[in-house]
Amino acid sequence: MSDAAEQLEYRAAIAQALAEELQRDERVIFYGEDVAAAGGVFKATPGLQERFGEERVFDTPISELAMCGAAFGAAVTGLRPVVEVMFGDFMTLAMDALVNQAAKWWYLSNERTPVPLVIRSAVGAGGSFGAIHSQNPAPWFLSVPGLKIACPAFPADAKSLLKAAIRDENPVLFFEHKRLYSMKGAPHLASSEDEVEALGSARVVRAGRDVSIVAIQRGVHDALAAAEQLAADGIEAEVLDLRCLRPLDLPCVLDSLAKTNRLLVVDEGSALGGWGCSVIGAVAQHGLEHLDDVWLLCSPDSPVPYSPQLERVHLPGGDAIASCVRERVGTGVPTTA
């Protein structure tokens, strides 16, 4: 890792990716509620309007459906819109444009009309924003063919995956976790500065032999923290950052499992129908022979509570990860392969 001076903040990674792609391609436009003049409520997009002008970077009325529906219309006619839907919870209002239009046109046009658009949205819990400002909308969209879903955990990935999303010919939902905006990290993980990660590849962020922990976004950092604790107990956890949920990099997960034979998925959402449950379902179908044990650490079946005390217990964190691994794997017991 590079020293502090070179560190990239997650929100700056977003801004850089947008700036570079706006610069690179005239067809890219960016809009949303309070993203332009104010630079976004999470301060992830300052200065873009000044730099690229108000025809290409602009503030909109509070009209999520029109914003995303218009993005679809713009995308099929030659622009490459990037839209910010301020909180992931508000994606409910734009769902029709994304599911019934954006995701369908490539197929329905007999593969003649690509739909290059990106919807950026701040997701996830942990800041006492309450039940309607803390959800992860990924499960609502996970089953929809034609969509891609990216969910970077590191600043470098935030940048390279957002650039990849903007260059992608398909509708991409790009989910930024609120508790990551202020995180700093290495400015790139890819081999060259210019490189743009393909959407749909997971990454092993920590190697281990005893258990595979699969996570996204904030959960990756919690898993890494837990892995540190576990290492002290002699348990070597392998931590996988999926980075994208659709397409899902199942081979990467299966490779890890072939080694560890134990799978823990950490999902901030609830159990049934979540992305974590789906990943386990996919693994069971395609890697049952590798599975000695599998479990999901997730939230209880309720909305996210406001009170910080309740929310802390509601969410799976590093300690909970470490303790459930200890319980299932045993302390310092070598794996039976």
């Binding site: 009325p61 459906l65 219309g73 329905l108 593969e111 034609g146």
Partner: protein, 352 residues
């Protein structure tokens, strides 16, 4: 290969898109530059309306024969709207239509055969048989798509106008009276005004949304007035009189193109058949259908051409025969084409 064969756009000067830039190479106008009535243009538009009508009647027959599937929403009685509006457009402009879109598709130049083949699920269909009647898409000809979701066309056209604006183009959204009570229209009218987008919102008020009379579900009762409150030019026109539609659309399109701003057009018309193939439309008050049939847009225009513009009865009969020939050839070709088949349909989920 699964892609629909790219069809030639040549052939009869009257065939294909009704857009004036193609039909006559000049500016769209009901009245030509020298102030004289645009007789040839009027004839081309009449022919287009006749083709749409004949197409719909043929589709009805093909449905009963089991060659068209699922459901269809026919356009009989509303032909003057899409033909009149599309005649005001240029190459490079966009149209987004509803599930009742055969008229708009033909007016935008989707080949008759490719449209018929699509509805018959043939591999030569404009979308390879994947879309069907409710999902006809042909961006190459400016048809952003037909939208199965009421209101979907509105946002699509709003977005297409963002693209078109860069190139001096405009986008048209067609939608029904029923769609004016739903989310899309409100957010998009506001968005288009605020963003200065060259989009023409065309409400085809055919008095019904499915089986429900427009006046029973439309607060205030005046669709054009509701639109005007957003501060954009909004007009109501006789949607069965193609000269009126063309004139209003030409004005609105010019406004959109030159001012980079939206306009609204409410076209008063009538759905002569039921909502979809399964609807006998028994809910209509007695005499209503008859009074609208007496104002059939094609008959009105025929009468005008024969009267005002002194077009001969023979010329009109010729047109009808020509349309019938085009349609028969198109349907025969579509019927002869192979059904869309999974072998030819190696769908890839994503565009590369």
């Amino acid at each position: 290969m699964r892609r629909a064969e790219q069809r030639s756009r040549s052939g009869s000067a009257l065939k294909g898109s009704i857009r004036s830039a193609e039909a006559s190479g000049g500016e769209p106008a009901a009245v030509s530059a020298n102030g004289h009535a645009d007789v040839e243009g009027s004839i081309a538009r009449l022919r287009q309306m006749m083709l749409i009508r004949a197409f719909e009647l043929e589709i009805q027959r093909l449905f009963l024969r089991g060659e068209v599937h699922g459901t269809t929403h026919l356009y009989n009685g509303q032909e003057a709207v899409s033909v009149g509006v599309c005649a005001a457009l240029r190459e490079g402009d966009y149209v987004a239509a509803t599930y009742r879109s055969h008229g708009a598709a033909l007016a935008m130049g989707v080949p008759t055969e490719a449209l018929a083949a699509e509805l018959m699920g043939r591999i030569t269909g404009v979308d390879g048989g994947r879309g069907g009647s409710m999902n006809v898409i042909d961006l190459q000809r400016g048809l952003v798509g037909s939208f199965g979701i009421v209101g979907g066309s509105i946002a699509a056209a709003t977005g297409a106008a963002m693209s078109a604006k860069r190139r001096g183009g405009v986008a048209v959204a067609f939608f029904g009276d029923g769609a004016t009570n739903q989310a899309y229209i409100h957010e998009c009218l506001n968005f288009a005004v605020v963003r200065g987008l060259p989009v023409l919102f065309v409400c085809e008020n055919n008095l019904y949304g499915e089986f429900t009379a427009m006046r029973r579900v439309t607060a205030g009762g005046d669709i054009a007035a509701r639109a005007a409150a957003y501060g954009l030019p909004s007009r109501k026109v006789d949607g069965n009189a193609i000269p009126a539609v063309l004139e209003a659309a030409t004005e609105a399109v010019a406004h959109a193109r030159e001012r980079e701003a939206p306009a609204f057009l409410e076209c008063l018309t009538y759905r002569q058949l039921g909502h979809s193939k399964s609807d006998p439309a028994k809910y209509r008050p007695e005499g209503e259908l008859e009074s609208w049939l007496a104002r059939d847009p094609i008959e009105l225009e025929k009468a005008r051409l024969q009267g005002e513009l002194s077009v001969s009865t023979d010329r009109i009969a010729e047109l009808q025969a020509d349309v019938q020939r085009e349609l028969e050839e198109a349907v025969a070709a579509a019927l002869a084409a192979p059904a869309a088949a999974p072998d030819n349909d190696m769908a890839s989920e994503y565009a590369a």
